[in-house]
């Protein structure tokens, strides 16, 4: 669900104005209503909660009784709490490392799967399986497999696997990144597969005539041609990793200690376990701002022509 956020929705304005010829201009009013369902959904489930959260961040509320405004007290207490920089650090650590693991692997897998051979199509189906499982189920399964006393390692007497995987800070973060990658590499491979198939074969033919080998072709044709696909896929990863919650919640519950407590989890714990909706809303607002900033930054990287270059995503 976290990966489903499209980074750039083509704006309706463009769709309407690119309708052919001046004859259509007069009828653009009749097309504009088509945006209404989306607009209503966006307003009800997007704008209203966003405003609600913003208002709540200036109040004191335990989720049960009456709501009392308390000015900037929540903001002061959250911003001075050492938990916040720690959670932001963990969030970015997981975001950057999982991006660094997923991107090269998805790119290679996607290029490999773009071939038309039958066995590759068969492998593509197998690779896709992790994406079909729910995050909670994946987390429960890995938790059982990695159990230091009853898991895979002690069961098969494999010393290397018998580690306190989820009980040591660095190992736990590593495990989270591994599982996230395992789960989402298939998805991003699929995006890259589509991207690679859009590259005209004539370019490869010309390169072969010029004497370029496969590796050279990959770096000189495939990767540059996939620039926008890479940006699309990266946006999905970055924005998605801001909201990682279910997997970590089930796997480690933010532990050991607070080693894997990402922002989303910190927000949940403050709001629904400590009954402090005000400070939790502050973190929600921070999450929104961070997400906005990151999405804008990635769009900048992609230049303004992104929309017309969207292929395979």
């Amino acid at each position: 669900m976290t990966v489903a956020a499209p980074p750039v929705a083509p704006t309706t304005g463009r769709t309407v104005s690119s309708g052919t010829g001046s004859a259509r201009v007069g009828r653009s009013g009749s097309v504009a209503w088509m945006v209404l369902p989306a607009l209503v959904m966006f307003f009800v489930f997007g704008v209203v909660p966003l405003v609600g959260v913003l208002v709540l961040s200036f109040t004191q509320w335990d989720g049960l009784g009456a709501i009392h405004p308390n000015g900037l007290a929540n903001w002061r207490s959250v911003l001075s709490d050492p938990q916040l920089p720690h959670s932001i650090l963990v969030t970015f650590e997981i975001m950057i490392l999982s991006w660094a693991v997923q991107t090269p692997m998805s790119l290679l897998l996607g290029t490999f799967l773009a071939g038309r051979q039958r066995y590759r199509a068969f492998l593509a189906v197998l690779y896709f399986i992790p994406l079909l499982l729910s995050s909670a189920a994946i987390a429960i399964t890995y938790k059982a497999l990695l159990d230091p006393n009853f898991g895979l390692g002690p069961g098969l007497h494999i010393g290397f696997l018998t580690q306190d995987w989820l009980g040591k800070s660095n190992l736990a973060i590593g495990v989270v990144i591994f599982i996230v990658s395992w789960q989402f590499i298939p998805f991003h491979s699929l995006i890259y597969q589509g991207g690679v198939r859009q590259i005209p074969t004539t370019m490869y033919e010309a390169a072969s005539i010029d004497g370029a080998g496969r590796v050279r072709q990959f770096f000189s044709i495939t990767v540059p041609q996939l620039k926008y696909t890479i940006i699309t896929s990266s946006t999905l990863m970055v924005v998605g990793s801001l909201t990682f919650f279910d997997l970590i919640f089930v796997l480690t519950a933010g532990g050991p200690g607070d080693a894997t407590r990402v922002l989303a989890l910190d927000m949940y714990k403050r709001g629904f376990m400590s009954n402090q909706m005000g400070p939790a809303s502050v973190i929600a607002v921070i999450l929104v701002l961070l997400g906005l900033a990151l999405a804008l930054l990635l769009r900048r990287l992609g230049g303004s022509t992104t929309a017309s270059q969207q292929e395979g995503a």
Partner: protein
């Protein structure tokens, strides 16, 4: 701009937490399940509803109570929904806050109940309950403390009294040729002996955090007496940096540093009963846990209980400590409140259920048969009729521990307000991870006293 990305993220952020909590419950092996209830009874208002926890044997006993009630009152049946422990805790708060809570609110009393009372969400039951003389006189007096807020009764005690007990595996002690510990010093001496034999001294489901808390509850009591936590509970400033408290925290970290707990304890959860499995499979020698675990160890542990390998005792004294060695901690009972938002007909229905079906003879029998002591004095009389030798010994032990305790303290996370409880659990996890010092723990906790 990116309206979709923003909206979705925000939407997920806001709604995701609650939705996930509910979703997670559905993923467990014992997710919510509802009984089809009668909607015909026009006098029954919007319908009497009751949410409670899954997990045997408690679940079956609760289901049987409702069944008896519904069979006798076909016009005003109670509709039930069942939840896993952690999912319940998250869901009930949110639901009550949103005015969607059940008529009968099941809980642990203490700080959680106080929060409901302050928000005006639960009914004052003082006058009604004073009229229920028989029921009132049958319940252990110690069970009422956690149900009383500002001198008024907001919940009726029910179900079982469950002290925290030190369980041990007699086979493990035979292997190292030692006797069960009589003091904290003995515990520290036993740790290297068990580790040398490849047996973990203590099992612990550390990811659940309240499991670690039980250790501190006993150490605080044995070292400084029951006053130490009482003053924290009363909101006295700097209660956590009492010298006895700091000593207890320090002793705790000494045991952790000496490898007193099973490898990987901080990723083991108590909800999955993996901590109990470590004890009955012989991987760990001892375990500090609630009396409610006996039933599961008996049913899942093969011959561990039936073969007489399970030993148990009250937590031993700490040398030079001020606490009374008969003191115990745990749950003095479970509690049922009635939602103040419910229709009058539903409230009356709920009262009828509480007074007639929660501690009736059939229920008391069922609790005793399942290896639990219900919160009524008549439980003692039932014990004589238990034919199973192991069960009989166990039940007498639990009854005596509860009845002879000079002070039966409520679990900290139930006694304190939700805000303090969450901060406490959080810092306990860090303390056990050795990532904060006792002094830092005390400072962090002092900062939220009274919140």
């Amino acid at each position: 701009m990116d309206p979709m990305a923003t909206s979705r993220r925000n939407f997920l952020g806001l709604v995701g937490g609650g939705a996930l909590a509910a979703g997670l419950a559905a993923c467990g092996s014992s997710g919510p399940s509802s009984t089809p209830g009668s909607t015909a009874g026009a006098a029954a208002g919007s319908g009497t509803t009751y949410w409670f926890l899954t997990g045997q044997p408690q679940q079956a006993i609760r289901e049987a109570q409702v069944k008896r009630f519904n069979d006798a009152n076909s016009g005003s049946k109670i509709k039930t929904t069942e939840f896993q422990n952690d999912a319940f805790k998250a869901k009930i708060k949110t639901a009550i806050g949103a005015g969607q809570g059940p008529t009968l609110i099941w809980g642990w009393g203490g700080g959680g109940l106080k929060a409901y009372v302050e928000a005006g969400q639960v009914e004052d039951l003082t006058d009604w309950f004073n009229g229920q003389t028989d029921l009132k006189n049958s319940i252990f007096p110690s069970a009422f403390t956690a149900a009383t807020v500002n001198g008024k009764l907001y919940a009726v005690p029910g179900e079982t009294v469950t002290p925290i007990v030190l369980f041990y595996d007699k086979r493990a002690f035979e292997k190292i040729g030692a006797e069960p510990p009589q003091s904290w010093g003995d515990i520290m001496d036993l740790v290297p002996k068990f580790n040398d034999k490849g047996i973990a001294p203590f099992s612990l489901g550390g990811q659940s955090r309240w499991t670690n808390m039980m250790w501190l509850e006993f150490l605080f009591d044995r070292i400084g007496g029951s006053e130490v936590f009482q003053s924290i509970y009363d909101g006295k400033a700097n209660g956590w940096s009492d010298p006895s408290a700091l000593k207890a925290l320090d002793e705790m970290q000494k045991l952790i540093k000496a490898n007193g707990f099973i490898k990987g304890f901080s990723s083991i959860t108590a909800d999955s009963n993996a901590d109990q499995a470590l004890l009955y499979t012989g991987k760990a020698a001892m375990m500090l846990h609630g009396a409610w675990t006996y039933g599961n160890m008996k049913s899942s542990g093969k011959d561990f209980v039936t073969g007489g390998h399970l030993g148990y005792m009250n937590f031993p004294p700490v040398d030079g400590g001020k606490g009374d060695p008969t003191d115990t901690v745990g749950n003095p009972g479970q509690y049922m409140s009635i939602s103040s938002k419910a229709a009058q007909a539903d409230k009356d229905n709920a009262k009828k259920f509480i007074s007639g079906y929660t501690l009736d003879d059939a229920t008391v029998d069922a609790w005793v048969k399942s290896g639990n002591i219900p919160v009524v004095k008549s439980a003692k009389d039932k014990l004589a009729s238990i034919s199973d030798k192991n069960d009989s010994e166990w039940l007498n032990f639990v009854y005596d521990t509860a009845a002879n305790a000079k002070n039966f303290a409520q679990s900290w996370d139930q006694a304190l307000s939700p805000t303090q409880a969450e901060t406490l659990l959080d810092n306990i996890a860090k303390l056990f991870q050795l990532s904060i010092s006792p002094q830092k723990f005390a400072d962090n906790m002092n900062a939220v006293i009274g919140q």
